[in-house]
C-alpha cells in the first residue's frame, strides 16, 4: 500500500475551485483575523472550533482517566489520597460525557457535514449555532472552575441524597452541566430544522445520507430528553444550597425519583453518544467497501427506532432500587429491543462489506474496531438487561467495562474514523496512511487491554469506584493500567501525524476516497458558501456505487 499517494490530488481533478481561487477562497482562508473566527456564522468554522475544544476536553478527561488508572495500580494508596481519587473519577466522567462524547460528533462533524450533505449553504439558524458553541464553553468554564475550587466526589451520576449533602463543590459543576445541556438542545433543534427545511432540490428524505439520518435521530433525543436533565440538575443545585429536601429522605423526599428523572435523560443520552457514531460508520463502510449501503431504509429507520425505544429503557438502571419485579421485567424487555435495532444496523453493515471491494484505509480500520466494540459491548448490554444477571454485576467493574465498550469504544472509533475520513475535506490536506493504521491498531489493542481485564475484574466481584481493593485483583488492574498507557500512546501518535499533516501534508483532491457522499461534491476545503457556481444536482442516492471500480466515481463533479 502506498501511504499517501493514493489520496493525493489526481490529474484533472477539481477544476472549478482552483481556477476561481481568487474569487472563492476556502472557508479556512476567507478572513484570517481572530475575530473572523470567533464571531463567524459559518457552520464549517463553528465545526472546526468545536473540534478544537472537544479535543481539549478529551485530553482533560483522558488525563483524569490516567490518574484513576495509576491510582489503581496497587491495592492500597498509590499516588493520591481517597478524596482526590473520588474527585478524579467524578471529573473523568463529567468531562468525558458532557464535554466530549455528547458534543463531539454532532458539534464538530455534524456542524461541518450536515449542511454540505443537504446541499445547503448553512444550518437554519447560524447565530444559534454559534451561541450553542459559546454556551458549551461557558458551561465548561463554570464546571472547570468548580473542579479547580474543590471538585466533586459524587460520581458523574450525582446521586441524591449524597450529592445534596456532600461538602464538595457540587453547585457550580451541576450548573455548568445545566448550561451545557442548553447547548445540546440548541444544536439538536438547529439540526432538526435544518434537515426539514434546508434540503436542496432533489434530496428527498430517502436520499439523505445516513449520517444525516443519524444526526436527525440524535437531535430528536437531544431536544426531548435534555430539558428533563436541566430541571433535575436545577433541583439538585437548589437542594444543595437551600436543602429543600425534594430528594432527601430525611425530609420526606424520594431519592429514587431523582434516579427516574436523571435516567430519563441519561439513558437516552447513551444514544446521543452512539447514534452519531452509527451515522459516521454507515458513511465509512459504504465508501471503503465501494458498495451501496445494504438496506438503506432499515439503517435509517433503526436510528429512529433506537431513539424511540431509548426513552423507555431508563428503568434498567434501577433494577436494584427496590422497583417491582413486574417493572423490572417490562424495562428488561424494552431495553432488549434496543439490541434488535442495533442488530439491524450491524447486519446491514456486514452485508455492505460482504463481497465489497474493501479499501483498507485508516477509517476502515476504525470501522472494524467499531464493529467489534459495538457487538461485544451490545451483547453485554443485552446480558445486563436481564434483571437476574444485572443484580450480581451491579456496580462492579463489569458495568464499567460494558459501558466503556459500547459508549466509549464505539464513539471513539467513530470519532477517529470521522476525523480521518473527513480530514481531507475539512482541511484540504492528506495525512500519512501508514501511521494512521499503526495508531488505529494501537488504539484498538490498547482499548481491549484496558477493558477486557475490567470485565474479568467485575465478574470476579470488584466493585466500581473503590479506592482500595484486595490483593488478588492486582494482576488484572495492572493489565488494565498498562492497556490505558498503550491507548494514550496511540492517541499521541495520531495527534502528532495529524498536526504534521495540517502543516506539511499534501494538498488533497476534492474527493480523495472516490466517495458517493454528497459532501464530496465540493472542493476540499469547501469555499465559504459551500458550493462554487451552480448547486450540484442530486439525482442519485448518496451511497450508490454501481461497481467496485474507482474510476466509476468521478473525482469531483
Amino acid at each position: 500500500m502506498s501511504p499517501s499517494s493514493s489520496i493525493a490530488a489526481e490529474p484533472g481533478a477539481v477544476p472549478a475551485p482552483d481556477e476561481h481561487h481568487e474569487h472563492h477562497p476556502s472557508y479556512l482562508v476567507d478572513g484570517t483575523t481572530v475575530k473572523s473566527w470567533l464571531l463567524t456564522l459559518d457552520h464549517k468554522r463553528i465545526g472546526v472550533m468545536y473540534l478544537i475544544w472537544v479535543l481539549l476536553f478529551f485530553l482533560i478527561g483522558g488525563i483524569y482517566a490516567l490518574i484513576v488508572r495509576l491510582e489503581l495500580l496497587t491495592p492500597g494508596p498509590t499516588i493520591i489520597d481517597a478524596m482526590t481519587y473520588n474527585r478524579a473519577f467524578t471529573m473523568h466522567g463529567v468531562v468525558m460525557i458532557f464535554l466530549f462524547m455528547i458534543p463531539a460528533i454532532p458539534g464538530a462533524f455534524g456542524n461541518f457535514m450536515l449542511p454540505l450533505m443537504l446541499g445547503a449553504k448553512d444550518v437554519a439558524f447560524p447565530k444559534l449555532n454559534l451561541a450553542s458553541l459559546y454556551l458549551l464553553l461557558s458551561g465548561a468554564v463554570i464546571a472547570i472552575w468548580g473542579m479547580i475550587n474543590g471538585g466533586m466526589d459524587t460520581g458523574w451520576t450525582f446521586y441524591t441524597p449524597y450529592s445534596t449533602h456532600t461538602t464538595t463543590t457540587v453547585a457550580p459543576i451541576l450548573f455548568g452541566a445545566f448550561i451545557i445541556g442548553f447547548s445540546s438542545i440548541a444544536t439538536g433543534l438547529n439540526f432538526i430544522v435544518t434537515t426539514h427545511t434546508m434540503r436542496a432540490p432533489g434530496i428527498t428524505w430517502f436520499k439523505m445520507p445516513l449520517f444525516v439520518w443519524a444526526m436527525y435521530a440524535t437531535a430528536c433525543i437531544q431536544v426531548l430528553a435534555t430539558p428533563v436533565l436541566g430541571l433535575v440538575l436545577l433541583l439538585v443545585v437548589g437542594e444543595n444550597i437551600f436543602h429543600f429536601g425534594i430528594f432527601d429522605p430525611a425530609r420526606g423526599g424520594d431519592p429514587v425519583l431523582f434516579q427516574h428523572l436523571f435516567w430519563f435523560y441519561s439513558h437516552p443520552a447513551v444514544y446521543i453518544m452512539v447514534l452519531p457514531s452509527f451515522g459516521v460508520m454507515s458513511e465509512v463502510v459504504a465508501t471503503y467497501s465501494r458498495k451501496n449501503i445494504f438496506g438503506y431504509r432499515a439503517v435509517a429507520f433503526s436510528s429512529l427506532g433506537i431513539a424511540f425505544v431509548g426513552f423507555f429503557a431508563w428503568g434498567h438502571h434501577m433494577f436494584v432500587s427496590g422497583q417491582s419485579t413486574f417493572n423490572a421485567g417490562v424495562f428488561a424487555v424494552l431495553t432488549m429491543l434496543v439490541g434488535v435495532f442495533t442488530a439491524i444496523k450491524v447486519f446491514n453493515w456486514v452485508g455492505t462489506v460482504y463481497k465489497g471491494a474493501v479499501d483498507f484505509k485508516t477509517p476502515f480500520a476504525y470501522f472494524c474496531g467499531f464493529l467489534y466494540f459495538t457487538v461485544f459491548g451490545g451483547m453485554t448490554g443485552v446480558a445486563f438487561a436481564t434483571a437476574s444477571l444485572d443484580v450480581p454485576w451491579h456496580d462492579t467493574y463489569f458495568v464499567v467495562a460494558h459501558f466503556h465498550f459500547i459508549m466509549v469504544g464505539a464513539t471513539i472509533m467513530a470519532f477517529m474514523a470521522a476525523l480521518h475520513y473527513w480530514f481531507p475535506k475539512m482541511f484540504g490536506k492528506t495525512y500519512h496512511e501508514g501511521w494512521g493504521l499503526v495508531s488505529a491498531a494501537l488504539i484498538i489493542l490498547g482499548f481491549n487491554a484496558t477493558f477486557i481485564p475490567q470485565f474479568l475484574l467485575g465478574n470476579a466481584g470488584m466493585p466500581r469506584r473503590y479506592y482500595e481493593y484486595p490483593e488478588r485483583f492486582q494482576t488484572l488492574n495492572v493489565a488494565s493500567t498498562a492497556g490505558a498507557s498503550l491507548l494514550a500512546f496511540g492517541f499521541i501518535i495520531s495527534a502528532i501525524y495529524l498536526v504534521y499533516a495540517l502543516v506539511y501534508g499534501q494538498r488533497a483532491s476534492a474527493n480523495p476516497w472516490h466517495s458517493r457522499g454528497y459532501e464530496w461534491l465540493t472542493a476540499s476545503p469547501p469555499p465559504t458558501h459551500n458550493f462554487v457556481g451552480p448547486q450540484p444536482t442530486y439525482t442519485e442516492e448518496p451511497h450508490l456505487y454501481v461497481g467496485p471500480e474507482k474510476s466509476e466515481v468521478p473525482d469531483a463533479v
Binding site: 438542545i185 426539514h196 427545511t197 431536544v223 435534555t226 430539558p227 428533563v228
Partner: protein, 221 residues
C-alpha cells in the same frame, strides 16, 4: 439562487430580506416556526419534570397536599388565571393586526399584554409575601403552625419551584414581547412579514398554557 422572496412583497415597507442561506421567504418562515415549536416542546418537558415530582409526592402525601392546597389564596389565583387568559387573547389579536399591517394596533395589543403580565406578577408578589409572612415556605424554612402533616413542606417546595419557574418565564415573555413591540413601533410588520409577532405570541401562549395546568394542580385539587 432562487430568491423568490414572496412575490409581490417587493416595495412593501420594511420587509427584511431573506437571509443568504435560505432559498426563499417561505422557507425562512417555516424554519423559524418549526424551531419555535421545538423550543416550546422543550419548555413543556422542563415543566413536565416538575409535574412528575408533584404527582410522586401527591401520591406519597395525599393528606398534606390536599390540606396545603386549601391554604392557597384561591381568589388571587383565579384573578391571575383570568388575567393571563385575557393577555393571551390580546397577544393573539396582535398577530391578527400584524397580518393586516396595522402596526399601531400591534403595539397597543402587546402593551396591554405586557401590562397584564406585570399585573400577574404584582398579584403573585402579594401571594408570595403572604406565604413568607405565614412561613409557608419550602423545606427547612417551613414553620406554619396551621398544618403539621408529614410532607406538607414538600407541597410548598413544589409550589414555590413551579410558580417561581413560571414567574421567570413570565418575565422572559415580557422581554420577548417588548422586543417585538419595538419592531412594531418601527412599522415592520405586514401581511407577508409577521413571523416575529407570531412567534412572540406563541411563546406567550405557552406561558399561559403552563399556568392553566399549574392552577388546578396547585389551587384546586
Amino acid at each position: 439562487m432562487q430568491s423568490s422572496s414572496a412575490a409581490g412583497t417587493a416595495g412593501a415597507p420594511h420587509v427584511p430580506h431573506v437571509a443568504a442561506h435560505f432559498a426563499s421567504r417561505e422557507v425562512q418562515d417555516h424554519a423559524a416556526r418549526l424551531g419555535m415549536w421545538l423550543f416550546l416542546a422543550t419548555e413543556i418537558l422542563l415543566f413536565a419534570g416538575l409535574f412528575v415530582c408533584y404527582a410522586n409526592y401527591r401520591f406519597l402525601f395525599p393528606d398534606a397536599f390536599a390540606e396545603a392546597s386549601r391554604h392557597l389564596d384561591l381568589t388571587m389565583g383565579t384573578i391571575n388565571t383570568l388575567v393571563l387568559i385575557t393577555s393571551s387573547f390580546t397577544a393573539a389579536m396582535a398577530v391578527h393586526y400584524a397580518k393586516e399591517g396595522e402596526n399601531k394596533k400591534v403595539v397597543w395589543m402587546f402593551v396591554l399584554t405586557i401590562l397584564m403580565a406585570l399585573g400577574f406578577l404584582v398579584i403573585k408578589y402579594f401571594e408570595y409575601a403572604h406565604k413568607f409572612h405565614e412561613h409557608q415556605l419550602p423545606g427547612p424554612y417551613y414553620a406554619y403552625p396551621g398544618i403539621q402533616l408529614p410532607g406538607v413542606s414538600m407541597y410548598f417546595t413544589i409550589y414555590f419551584l413551579s410558580t417561581g419557574l413560571h414567574a421567570f418565564h413570565v418575565i422572559v415573555g415580557m422581554i420577548v414581547l417588548g422586543w417585538v413591540t419595538l419592531k412594531a413601533m418601527r412599522n415592520e410588520f405586514n401581511y407577508s412579514n409577521y413571523t416575529a409577532v407570531e412567534l412572540g405570541s406563541m411563546y406567550w401562549h405557552l406561558v399561559d398554557l403552563v399556568w392553566i395546568f399549574l392552577f388546578p394542580m396547585l389551587y384546586l385539587i
